[in-house]
Symmetry: C4
Subunit: 223 residues, 4 copies
């Protein structure tokens, strides 16, 4: 019988291919993780392994301090940030990190993506906010993510000069947020190249977000 | 024997893959529908189902009020807008909706795409117009589409801050219009980044459009 | 035994897939033709047939007035322009037409692409020039191509508000020119978005073009 | 038994497909080479052969003056530049050359890509510098590469009006640098289209680069 952790290994491995499919990553950049429900564990991508070689078996099982519990490789160098998020946001079941082009372009300027598309109101419910510049190596990145997104509707944060982190109730929802984040970051960027996008009234953003988060799709949407 | 509705299910299912092929959609966004000829019915995509999992069998059959007649899933959340179009424009046999990047970039600024390419004169015969900002949930979007496109040569409308709707004599024609809409929205955007495109004289737009709509291809062109 | 015309049908059919591979065309736009060596005949794409359905068998054989000699479908609506080129430029063995995005963006402004890349000096030996605005339906487009490119080093011309035509000693060379034209049109466009590209001295353009046209590759390069 | 040179032929042949996968090349442009460890030899792409037809067998073996030692075709027209690099930089085991779009756009303006992304600090440790304008045909290009990169942290140089050369401890590392170079050239370009990216403090660039070059991945990173 397949254990819940084995199923999660497969899901996390497969979801990495969505990052490739949507052109969110190059070479070995980017990573997806999932919390093991009911346990202080997470499943994450190994560090520096090509996307073509990712398998359920080489995903790494870590505890919520980012220490390896099971796995032959080192875990993603961003594991500490993922682990910090899981320790501090119990409702989060999945985390994704990419350097997707348009999101990074906003992040390099330290500028939030304004909410000027109905699809953005649906998925993000607000602007996509900017988190602090933070160096890798301690809890700075994780803390920056949590402090920026706690109490914010957006499941995505642009970490300054760095890239995007997205959260979800599970790994699929976090990957969806990463895909949508790049999509709207690109569209709003292109729109602004030739003038100012028309703002959407706050009340309309609220109505759209409420409707989407409660009635869209075949079951309640993520996060 | 395959029924006309089964053939239409297959056609609508297959046409969704054209939206993927031409990069007009991400995740589960976008939808194609077709009117069932001679009946007050339409076939449309289910809501929130990944493009890889769309099949003739999971397409939804609805009446022209958008109520499900046959289908296990909920229909696309844009079904009301499609249905409104079919109720009010009897010559329309297919409707497509996308959030394609460049079209949305114009839509976010509430700006029409000017007709500065011969391919645009051929297919659209005019600028691609902007429809009103409208919330999902009632007939606002459908009404905005119909009021903008009735009496207009363009089979495409940019709904403000939202996305594109395209119409056609059948679903294939509507998908073609969606593909061409993004193509010209992109080219004209890029052209304008470095200066002003040269306008095409109205008489030449008229001549090109007339010729294309009557003699191009192996049979009369759509819409 | 396979006849020379059958071989050419296959070559022209296959080369259309290169237009798809390099994203130079959408839907049924674009076309490739080849002169039948030693005969007043050309092989060209049928009109309005999807790229997936192009085969050696459905390519159209026409005379150099554009009249169909063999083929079930109508020939490309641009056949008259191809035929005019073959009638007036005996050294040309292949012609390609596309609406590729960046080339069209320059064409919509009626602006030549300046020669600011060594790869452009190699392949084009000069700026890529702009031809006149011309309506489809008579010899205007063909005449515009020939008058612009006769005596010019460039195998590509940007027809104003329309698209690109490229010429070559054979169809492969013309397709290569279409691929390179879009590539340099894109790169120079992007370069100019943030400032002025540095010009290359005319003597250096001459030296690069001479070398490339005589010594590059395994055999003498096209045109 | 497979000889070390045969293994290198396969590796170099395979790595060319990465240039295609990441859209760094069109038609026959671009090339990868590898030094044969412990010998005054290099393996490089043949000139003017399509990427689809590259095989281990048609890779060319040259000495470090660029003269063919084994191979039926002519070697890449850029062989002299590769050979010059191997003669002058003994720590380099792989060299890549492309005309990738965004890198060339910076190169056409003669402008370095500023280090405003943490991924760029990781991989390049500094701005990506510009080398001189140099004609093909003698040692000018090779000398320009070496003089620009000697003592520089960046494994990539933008040769003015031309393209990119990247170096690595082996061919894989050089290909990775070519992929990352285009990725950051694109992101920084897009960021600058709507304002100025925020600089990263030099001390932070240093810390990021030191960490990445020593601890990232499953083994020490390239160069």
């Amino acid at each position: 019988m397949t254990s819940p952790i084995d199923l999660l290994r497969r899901q996390v491995s497969d979801l990495h291919q969505e990052l490739v499919r949507y052109n969110l990553v190059v070479w070995t950049a980017g990573n997806v993780s999932a919390r093991v429900p009911g346990e202080d564990l997470l499943v994450i991508k190994p560090s520096g392994v090509p996307y073509d070689e990712l398998t359920p078996e080489n995903m790494i099982l870590c505890d919520l301090d980012g220490k390896v519990v099971e796995g032959e490789h080192s875990p993603s160098s961003d594991t500490a940030a993922h682990a910090y998020v899981y320790r501090h946001l119990p409702e989060v079941g999945g985390v994704v990190h990419t350097h997707s082009t348009y999101a990074c372009a906003w992040a390099a300027r330290g500028e939030a993506v304004p909410c000027v598309l109905t699809a953005m109101a649906d998925e993000f419910g607000a602007e996509i906010p900017v988190g602090p510049f933070a160096l890798i190596g301690d809890d700075s990145i994780g803390r920056g993510i949590v402090e920026t997104l706690q109490g914010h509707r957006s499941p995505a944060v642009l970490m300054k000069n760095h890239g995007v982190f997205t959260l979800g109730k599970d790994a699929t929802a976090a990957v969806k947020a990463a895909v949508m984040c790049e999509d709207v970051a690109r569209t709003v960027h292109i729109s602004r190249q030739l003038g100012e996008p028309v703002p959407i009234a706050q009340g309309d953003v609220d109505r759209l977000n409420h409707r989407y988060q409660t009635v869209y799709g075949q079951q309640p949407a993520a996060r």
